[in-house]
């Protein structure tokens, strides 16, 4: 668990708080997306967790321990760190890049080697091909996968990710987001991800922290945030289409009428989102859709009215 306790950060001469009396608890095993306009303090907040920044006042606790009392290098070796520009070491092979933290921790060669293969497999890169390559020989998406593997190398409990998908082209980005989300779910990390992309925050975050001018405006699950923005700024930040975004978070299965199984009308899969279902209804001007299970059989029915009322 990460706890920020009345944390304030001032930069000398700036005359304002970069982070202003922030209170935030991040539960173990959850992913928190920090979002807000640039200069809102989200990156500074993240960098205080691994002591790359020091709070002016207040405390940052990791598993109950004040990070100010830890050795910063020791602390950072146990917190994964991923940044937008990746920051791979250009003069080292991929395997040496990934082995950075194990090397610092004094792992033996065999253990490090096993781990490198394991991690490259995990992020979908072929160890036989990739190990001896240099960073400049990789595409942007591959580089960020290596950066992610490098951060995971010593199996840290916590991962800090600063705009990890920002430098990847939009088409690859969606795929890498999906992959990272799957991996993070599988390895059960406590994750702080800084982003300025609302869709990314909704997709990646179990909870979203919206910040502005160094203050935390709202800290909630994506669904709750979209349904009940705390103030006008949050509402305008989420945008007019927040209602539609919210439909993306609910599956057809959650609201379908199981008692009503119609004949062979146009159908949709049970795990599809309501946004997807609504798009189908609008495109083909239908009153409702039959719902199919994983085996293709009809399991229920979802109507236009059901989708609209789920929104409320």
């Amino acid at each position: 668990m990460i706890r920020l306790d009345h944390v304030t950060k001032n930069y000398e001469g700036s005359g304002r708080h970069a982070v202003d009396n922030l209170d935030l608890v991040i539960e173990t095993g959850t992913t928190v997306a920090m979002i807000g306009p640039s200069g809102c303090g989200k990156t500074t907040t993240m960098r205080m967790i691994n002591r790359l920044e020091t709070p002016t006042s207040g405390r940052v606790l990791v598993n109950g321990r004040d990070v100010a009392e830890t050795d910063p290098q020791e602390l950072r070796r146990h917190i994964g760190y991923v940044i937008q520009q990746v920051g791979l070491f250009p003069h080292m092979t991929i395997e040496r890049n990934i082995a950075t933290v194990p090397r610092l921790l004094g792992w033996d060669k065999a253990r490090t080697n096993r781990r490198i293969d394991e991690l490259l497999d995990l992020v979908g890169l072929d160890p036989a091909v990739m190990r001896r390559r240099f960073p400049h020989e990789l595409s942007g998406g591959q580089r960020q996968r290596v950066g992610f593997a490098r951060a995971l190398a010593a199996d840290p409990e916590i991962m800090l990710m600063d705009e990890p998908f920002g430098a990847i082209d939009p088409i690859t980005r969606v795929r890498v987001q999906d992959e990272f989300r799957q991996i993070l779910k599988k390895v059960r990390k406590t994750v702080v991800i800084v982003t300025h992309d609302l869709d990314e925050a909704i997709k990646m975050g179990d909870r979203i922290a919206i910040m502005r001018d160094g203050r935390l405006l709202q800290y909630d699950t994506p669904a709750a945030l979209l349904a009940r923005p705390a103030d006008d700024f949050v509402a305008s930040f989420l945008g007019l289409d927040r209602a539609i975004k919210r439909l993306n978070l609910i599956t057809v299965e959650e609201i379908m009428d199981r008692g009503h199984v119609p004949g062979p009308v146009p159908s949709i899969a049970a795990e599809a989102s309501l946004q997807h279902a609504l798009a189908r209804l609008l495109a083909d001007d239908l009153p409702g859709l039959a719902v199919t299970g994983t085996d293709g059989s009809f399991v229920g029915y979802v109507s236009r009215e059901a989708i609209f009322s789920a929104q409320r």
Binding site: L52, Q73, R76, R77, G87, F89, H91, A151
Partner: protein, 211 residues
């Protein structure tokens, strides 16, 4: 052909020629070595602070504009004649390009690389030896090449302040109006400079292609 005459003179006086040649090379190697020991650590320290780097780059830049002959002549009133004042003057000549390239090499490292290194818990010393220095090596090598060529040329002038070396043949050639003797000094100096350029160019390329 005066080139052939020059070559014949070398064949006839191998002892004289090679002692001057060795003296020349020795002077260059010592000066370059001392300059490296001064410029590299200084560059590494200075590169950390933008203000210090700015001062270093400008001081080094203006030092570079002083002609070699002026530096060598200026050494004589303070240090007399012989090898020592020559080496001191050549060090002054060699330091600026080395310092400049060390500072630039360090400062051109992608900041995200250093942020990542820091964020993963690498100690200051590890970052210096495993990241900063290896990444600055191509730039430092380019500085060594520039310095080496400066020093090889500059050492030809050491003869004026009694430093010896191949410049002695040039001076003698001019004094007695003996053109072949002049070439005995001039041609090997030119060849040394070209060889150094080619050699360091090759080393630089073989180090740089790996990234």
């Amino acid at each position: 052909m005066i080139l052939v005459e020059a070559f014949n003179w070398i064949l006839a006086n191998p002892g004289t020629f090679f002692s001057a040649f060795n003296r020349h090379v020795l002077m260059c190697v010592i000066s370059l070595g001392i300059a490296l020991v001064i410029a590299m650590p200084l560059g590494l320290v200075v590169a950390r602070s933008p203000r210090a780097a700015f001062v270093a780059i400008n001081v080094a830049g203006s030092l570079r504009s002083i002609p070699s002959l002026a530096i060598l002549s200026a050494a004589m009133p303070f240090l007399g004649i012989g090898l020592l004042p020559s080496v001191v003057a050549l060090v002054v000549l060699a330091v600026p390009p080395l310092l400049l390239n060390t500072v630039v090499g360090i400062r051109e490292i992608d900041p995200s690389v250093l942020d990542a290194a820091n964020g993963m818990g690498m100690a200051r010393r590890d970052i210096r030896w495993q990241i900063e220095i290896p990444l600055a090596v191509p730039s430092i090598l380019a500085g060594v090449r520039t310095s080496a060529i400066q020093v090889i040329g500059g050492a030809a002038l050491a003869s004026f302040i009694g430093g010896g070396g191949l410049g002695d043949f040039i001076n003698a050639g001019i004094a007695i109006m003996n053109m072949p003797r002049l070439l005995v000094g001039a041609v090997p100096i030119a060849l040394l400079a070209i060889l150094t350029e080619v050699l360091f160019g090759w080393i630089e390329r073989s180090v740089t292609t790996r990234r």
